[in-house]
């Protein structure tokens, strides 16, 4: 029996020029996990025009300050990471839940799967969350994560990064990404960073160091803006203005 109505099927690589492909063989983990069939392109129904709303979530100050989650302070360079969460139309996204996680200053995650021979820091868990304000702004206090080795290929090292999770205005805008630090010498060797093929898009994953955000005698300031939008190849619905 043939389907009554057939939807367009598209290669995942044509979804957006910004995103990496599902299958990027240099990143070995994709080989057995990347979906290989073309994706089914659905029109946006109410299911796709909606998504979770977390604006009223109660969070504590230490949720956004990873240096104050224990009795003592973690070792490493104290930094702030702040910026705005925006729609692709430039509008600030308010009340957005932003979740982050990272390695400690020595390049070790507080996770039993991480067996890297670098010390854990009893004063650093590495997880944080906050909500964006009325202008779409968020801010975290943390320490600069270390680079660390991984098993992808001989002498493989991940550039310093912080994982970011965001929701956007509707389910299709959900994004998990990684924020990198400017000038990292490991960029040319990292298949995860290079899975993003477009150079302009690569730059959008790299934070900017800003002296204006740097607090004298206290912490270096990095800016990282995140832009969220539908990942569809072609808009199928008229623009909503709400």
């Amino acid at each position: 029996m043939q389907p009554e109505t057939a939807f367009a099927r598209i290669s995942d690589e044509t979804l957006t020029a910004s995103d990496p492909p599902h299958l990027y063989p240099d990143y070995v983990g994709t080989r057995l996990r990347a979906p290989k069939d073309p994706l089914v392109l659905l029109p946006a129904s109410l299911s796709e025009l909606t998504g979770p709303v977390y604006g009223d979530t109660r969070l504590s100050e230490t949720d956004a300050d990873l240096t104050r989650q224990h009795t003592g302070e973690p070792l490493g360079e104290r930094i702030t990471v702040s910026g705005r969460v925006l729609g692709s139309d430039g509008k600030p996204l308010r009340g957005q839940l932003v979740e982050i996680w990272q390695a400690n200053a020595a390049g070790r995650y507080r996770h039993e799967v991480d067996t890297h021979d670098a010390p854990l820091d009893p004063n650093f868990s590495g997880g944080g969350r906050c909500l964006t304000d009325g202008d779409g702004r968020y801010r975290f206090v943390t320490v600069l994560p270390g680079a660390y080795p991984w098993g992808n290929h001989p002498n493989a090292w991940r550039p310093k990064h912080i994982h970011f999770s965001l929701f956007g205005r509707a389910f299709p805008e959900r994004l998990v990404t990684q924020m990198y630090f400017p000038g990292d010498p490991l960029f040319p060797f990292d298949p995860i960073f290079n899975s993003v093929r477009d150079e302009g898009a690569q730059q959008r994953m790299i934070a900017t160091f800003e002296l204006e955000r740097t607090q004298p005698d206290w912490a270096l300031g990095f800016r990282f803006d995140v832009v969220l939008g539908g990942r569809e190849a072609t808009p199928l619905e008229p623009e909503h203005d709400d």
Binding site: L41, L42, S47, W101, S165
Partner: protein, 188 residues
């Protein structure tokens, strides 16, 4: 209008639990003692048929009456339920298994006004997935609604079958990233 470039997706990696669990989001969308509570579980499988033990599955759904807890669903004649966000998140760290306690959603409209069968939107994240894989789950005890669902009608029968959970009471829904009979994934 100038469109800003989107921030690219990157993998969640294997350490997602540090940032994504223990916060406001869990796999219990409503209290287990609620008489309407249903359990949905399954296994996330890779192309070798092995369970993915470091991933995460998220779901998004309407409430039992068929309304999404989001301002774009302005059908105020259908009531929202206090405390029901419609969103849940389960790790697959327990042998590749994920599990949700939730409620069967009501039917929501398709853009042309037809009704969709009750369904969950499902998002899959894991080490080795550079971006989310998105699919849908349908309910086995909704044969009539499934038979007229605009999404299911647009798929091949074998693809359709992969999207319908099975089991009585406690539902089972496996997600196959690669293989002879992979789960069908959607662009939206």
């Amino acid at each position: 209008m100038t469109e800003l470039g989107l921030t690219p997706s990157q993998t969640v990696g294997p350490y997602l639990r540090i940032g994504l669990f223990g916060g406001p989001i869990s796999n219990r969308l409503l209290d287990e003692s609620d008489p309407r509570a249903i359990r949905v579980s399954g296994v996330l499988l890779d192309g070798a048929g092995e369970p993915v033990t470091d991933g995460m599955v998220e779901i998004w759904q309407a409430n039992a009456a068929g309304r999404y807890a989001h301002p774009a669903d302005d059908r105020t004649e259908i009531e929202l339920e206090d405390g029901f966000t419609g969103f849940g998140r389960s790790s697959t760290e327990d042998s590749g298994s994920f599990e949700f306690v939730t409620v069967k959603p009501g039917r929501v409209p398709w853009p042309d006004g037809r009704l969709q069968a009750p369904h969950l939107l499902v998002g899959v994240f894991a080490r080795g997935l550079l971006k989310r894989a998105a699919t849908r789950m349908y309910f086995p005890d909704e044969e009539a609604a499934n038979a007229e669902d605009p999404v299911l009608l647009g798929l091949e029968p074998v693809e359709r079958a992969m999207l319908i959970a099975y089991g009585n009471g406690s539902l089972r829904f496996d997600i196959v990233l690669q293989g002879d009979r992979p789960t069908i994934f959607f662009a939206a």
